[in-house]
Point group: C2
Chain length 334, copies 2
């Protein structure tokens, strides 16, 4: 095989926002699959806020990406050579491809997807890890009951958008928080939120009091910072706060901002719980089945924000997440 | 009845630490019990960090003490007149007497205590609401399993000291955090903690890493602030953080300090949960029975720090809590 595999590697650990110096662009020959492996031509890369954490040194839920290593990323693509009995050339799969054009993966770690149900990028979005994150985070950690008031930050983002739709499927009132009037319109019109609060132009605490007069039963947090504090101040008794992410804080250089209103957990006899979708691996099949069912009957819609420019555009595309520029699932076409 | 009832009333809502201007000392004739009520001569008052919160305006789990009202307090004393069929003069009871020498209480709200089992102040401490707070907070919210590492702040204080002893009864390793060498000695020698960390002279984060090499399974927090952050940084996977109080923050005028390390809840798939002992009212009998059993067989010891000076000494005695001057349950002899 003569093709060249273009890659993006981590060159240096960023302080604050990643910049050009954080990355190294490399090219090498396309690899060959060993026994049990497959070679995947990557078509789409998933861009996730969690990537920022993977770039940091230190103890976390997963080892940091090493300096000089291909940046870790979920991708979707086509098997072009297989030495795994369960997969054949032409199969479409998702897996941890990394930010590169071709990836050699263990066949067992590549998940075949059904593109007759939904196009490939959807399998990185509502029907992929994004959807599963919303599914297990909202339902298993948040435990909403029909009639509950569920508030979701990052409501027009990938996970938040799915979480809001699941809340509606489960008979909850869903209030979204998003940045800017377009995203708020998208949340209400396309995702079915009952209301949306624009944190850029509105007083989030006041709007939460207005939209959630009986308090918030489930708060699904993707952003941290001031918005988390505003939500804590409005918890209903026995509320569940789900910590899915804290995108507002990932590039902070002065240390994370802790939720000053955390004693609301005591006043409201509430809990705040973190989770990782990986812990639900033995239930992914259940989650995908449920999500696919809702997708098929139109109760779950998937919105992708497809960036172009190939892997070379990865560094700049990643920053769009932190600037809040994406609506729906941000993927990069390779 | 000619006796005079000396009282301490809330005169003004303090900003920061309460001072002389926060209180009004009054005297009035001793009241008469109405139908169903009892008149109690107060012998001991319970001093609790929560009192500081009761002095604040605003939404909380209980209405604030009104300006001009007798300061809310748990007390223990002797029934000297009864118009309730279940209680007679001479009975010893606990109840919400307020900071005064005589209290008229609904008989149903006065709890008869057994002073053949333990002296009266113990019924405000290990066998009273203090003990129940530790019991339900640690066992129901913290859910320790035998072999778990349980870390408790305010370990030489009233609730922390009982929580540590219950952790030992349940077969856990108990690590206490307290201020100063004497309290640390008390925690290990008298309360049975396996280790104690002196937050005044030691690096709490480093000591937690040393004493909890496999992480903290249950963190029972009475203090908030930096110590909560240090504990969050050392959580074991699936840890439970119990929010019982945040005494380090109650007199802060610059706003509460939020736990900057709260994203450890995600990394460790952990939860942080607040609770109020009042929610367990229908299980108080179970709690007291268990605590009394451990007290009887010597596995639970009660330590009271008995201040003197009568109700007039209440304002100054209260401040001892916030200065960390008490060891064990702080009560004021009336």
């Amino acid at each position: 095989m003569d093709a060249v595999n273009h890659q993006v590697r981590l060159a240096a650990r960023p302080v604050g926002q990643p910049n050009a110096g954080s990355w190294e662009h490399t090219a090498e020959p396309v690899g060959e699959p060993g026994e049990g492996e497959v070679l995947v031509a990557v078509r789409y890369l998933s861009l996730d806020p969690a990537m920022r954490g993977w770039m940091n040194e230190g103890r976390s839920y997963i080892a940091p990406v090493g300096i000089g290593e291909v940046m870790r990323a979920l991708g979707a693509g086509e098997v072009i050579a297989s030495r795994h009995p369960g997969l054949a050339a032409g199969d479409l799969v998702t897996g941890m491809t990394g930010v590169q054009e071709y990836a050699v993966l263990p066949g067992d770690a590549a998940i075949a997807v059904d593109t007759t149900l939904a196009p490939l990028p959807v399998h990185l979005g509502a029907l992929g890890m994004t959807g599963l994150t919303a599914y297990f985070g909202l339902l298993d950690i948040g435990r909403p009951r029909a009639g509950d008031t569920v508030v979701i930050s990052g409501a027009a983002g990938a996970v938040g958008g799915v979480a809001g739709q699941i809340a509606k499927v489960r008979g909850c009132r869903a209030v979204g928080i998003a940045g800017g009037p377009e995203k708020c319109r998208h949340a209400v019109r396309d995702l079915g939120f009952d209301a949306a609060i624009d944190y850029r132009s509105q007083d989030v605490a006041a709007e939460l009091r207005r939209h959630c007069p009986d308090g918030i039963d489930v708060y699904f947090d993707n952003v941290g910072g001031e918005i988390l504090d505003a939500a804590l101040a409005q918890l209903a008794r026995g509320a569940r706060v789900v910590i899915c992410g804290a995108i507002s804080q990932y590039n902070e250089t002065g240390g994370m901002r802790g939720p000053a209103n955390y004693m609301s957990l005591l006043v409201s006899r509430a809990s705040m719980t973190g989770f990782l979708v990986f812990d639900f691996a033995d239930r992914y099949a259940e989650g995908v089945r449920e999500l696919a069912g809702w997708y098929r009957d139109g109760r779950l819609r998937s919105f992708e924000d497809v960036a172009t420019g190939g892997v070379a555009a990865f560094p700049e595309t990643l920053l769009r997440l932190f600037r809040g520029e994406n609506t729906g699932k941000l993927v990069l076409r390779v």
